[in-house]
């Protein structure tokens, strides 16, 4: 069936370095792709989303890249800080529907001092 998955379950980066978290998706009908951050003991936190008619979107210290040819999504975090340590997961959806929202399993980002 269709699925959203992550390439790496864990990622460790040095404080101040850039982080890149990857995600593969397989549902070509999806037109929204979202990144969430989940800190320990907290609910998911929306970071950024991108629509399928775009290939890049930037936010505050974050950039999401979408490659529809290979069905790949990435989240780049610039100048990673200790507060960025969390589980990051991507999600895909279509038509603005919450029911169609399919979450990935997550990558644990650890920022090393």
């Amino acid at each position: 069936g269709e699925s959203v998955g992550l390439h790496l379950p864990t990622l460790s980066v040095q404080e101040g370095d850039n982080s890149i978290i990857n995600c593969a998706y397989s549902n070509s009908a999806s037109d929204y792709f979202i990144w969430y951050k989940q800190e320990s003991g907290k609910g998911p936190q929306f970071i950024i989303d991108i629509r399928s008619n775009m290939d890049k979107r930037q936010g505050q210290r974050v950039t999401v890249l979408l490659n529809k040819t290979v069905k790949h999504l990435s989240l780049q975090i610039a100048a990673t800080q200790p507060g960025d340590s969390a589980v990051y997961f991507c999600a895909e959806a279509s038509s603005g529907s919450a029911r169609q929202l399919t979450f990935g399993s997550g990558t644990q980002l650890t920022v090393l001092p």
Partner: protein, 115 residues
Amino acid sequence: EPEVTQTPSHQVTQMGQEVILRCVPISNHLYFYWYRQILGQKVEFLVSFYNNEISEKSEIFDDQFSVERPDGSNFTLKIRSTKLEDSAMYFCASKKTGGSAYEQYFGPGTRLTVT
């Protein structure tokens, strides 16, 4: 900064009992959601609610589940007769009008343990 709150943080109940999970969404938000996350698994959509009625629901949200906005501030999820497989973290979320459909603000969750 306003945030979504949920109570209780942990609920333990016996199989077959009714539970009500409570949420207070952000005050000017008009869209409300419930999700669940079974330990070690992905977050799953349960239901969305707008204008005092259910907008969408998943296959998980069967007749044992119901939602209600009993007053201007609370949003509740009721499970009538809990099963062992209902054990999970339940997240409430809310969203304001406009903006991304997915810019939802999640609460900290209620851990439901069914014994």
